[in-house]
Symmetry: C2
Subunit: 217 residues, 2 copies
DNA sequence: GCCGATATGTTTCCACTGTCTATATACTCT
DNA sequence: AGAGTATATAGACAGTGGAAACATATCGGC
């Protein structure tokens, strides 16, 4: 509008951009906002396009379909979650038990604070993740945080031997399941507070840790 | 077709039925078939009506919308899951540790064998379960199986004191999280066998049990 | 600087969906 | 038998996903 050549130092890394500048990123941001605002992702792709100010077919230049767009939103969520977990581990570098409790609390806090986003990250429509390498990579990187904590714990003798991958799977199952159950209110904990959710997480995470320390069966 | 008065001993409890006989039940069955066959529930309500051989508006006489229909399908799943868990407990009435391991294995087996149905049961579109009392009741009854096992374990001194509800929540979190992760292949276990899934479940369930037996924090 | 190739965005069009309204049919009860 | 209600149908509507044809901006080579 103002200047027909707004391009120069527009938006992302690439200097001058095409028509929109960086529609791909704009669509992801818009979709993320809509997910968190509306608490669901049952909006239409046309609606996303409208809010981004482009025609209803423009998104198809960047995403095969709505699921592909949502996969990017979910991938952002995994990155954010990974950072939260990494920050939680830094608190207690000595005690693996404390580290696991902290990770559990941080994990559940993340989910409880952004339920819709968390649900999307593990939602069914993105289950065939083979289609979404970005999502898979972000998910794997998050899982790796847990694995590395357990590896260090084993190295220092605080965690029982056994397969680290199995142990990490158990730990992730615990916090993921807890988060899901709390979010979806499948148990009778309607309106549970974040603090209480974290308490559950610490308690359960510690119990599992103690179990792993003992016999590995 | 054959006889205009086929009604007599038609289908469900009620003797003679209306036009269709028991369209409500037929629609639930059809939807269940479609979920398991197609591995998803992104079909349209019109499609369900077509397969049931009725007009596209007939379902609205029995369900407010598609979600309400899916909620019934999910409720059936919870009933089936509850039966599977109850059968698993009957194997080892003496050892709570064994019972929990059996329950864990049965739970994960259920999910791995019917992934789409399981996903639906915990899917986001049915999260506001307050709308679906049947679903909530079925879900609660399933949770109760776990609770009762832990209660008996506490009574016989095999399980640490603490809040039974908290312990049950932890146990359910573990198996639910494991099932979800396996189903959605969020971890690198592509094409995991049912037997291996059960092994993971037993192992993790036992570890948690041992942790609960120790300190309750 | 100019030009074709390509990437990006728009407009138009179609089948289909969810849902509203009006109408028809079957069952219940008295 | 007839009134009232529950069940099913038919038609219409706006909105959707997506294909096709078209328009425009940017890039790479010259």
């Amino acid at each position: 509008m103002a200047n027909p050549r707004v391009s120069s130092a527009a938006r992302a890394r690439r200097p001058a951009r095409y028509h929109h500048g960086d529609l791909r990123r704009a669509l992801i941001d818009t979709a993320l906002s809509m997910v968190t605002e509306e608490g669901a992702w049952n909006f239409t792709l046309r609606e996303v396009a409208r809010r981004a100010g482009v025609s209803h077919m423009a998104p198809y230049n960047h995403f095969e379909d709505k699921s592909a767009l949502l996969a990017e939103v979910a991938a952002l969520g995994f990155q954010s979650l990974r950072q939260a977990l990494e920050a939680a581990t830094r608190g207690h570098p000595r005690s693996a038990r404390q580290a696991l409790a902290n990770i559990s609390a941080a994990y559940v806090r993340f989910g409880v604070q952004r339920p819709a986003h968390y649900r999307l990250m593990f939602g069914a429509e993105l289950a065939e993740k083979a289609r979404y390498p970005n999502l898979q990579a972000a998910s794997d990187a998050t899982f790796a945080v847990l694995t590395s904590v357990l590896e260090r714990g084993q190295a220092s003798g605080q965690v029982g031997r056994g397969s680290v991958r199995d142990q990490a799977l158990a730990a992730w199952s615990l916090v993921h399941g807890l988060t899901t159950l709390l979010i979806d209110q499948r148990v009778g904990f309607l309106g549970i507070s974040t603090a209480e959710a974290e308490r559950h997480a610490r308690q359960a995470g510690t119990a599992l840790f103690d179990g792993l320390r003992g016999k590995t069966d």
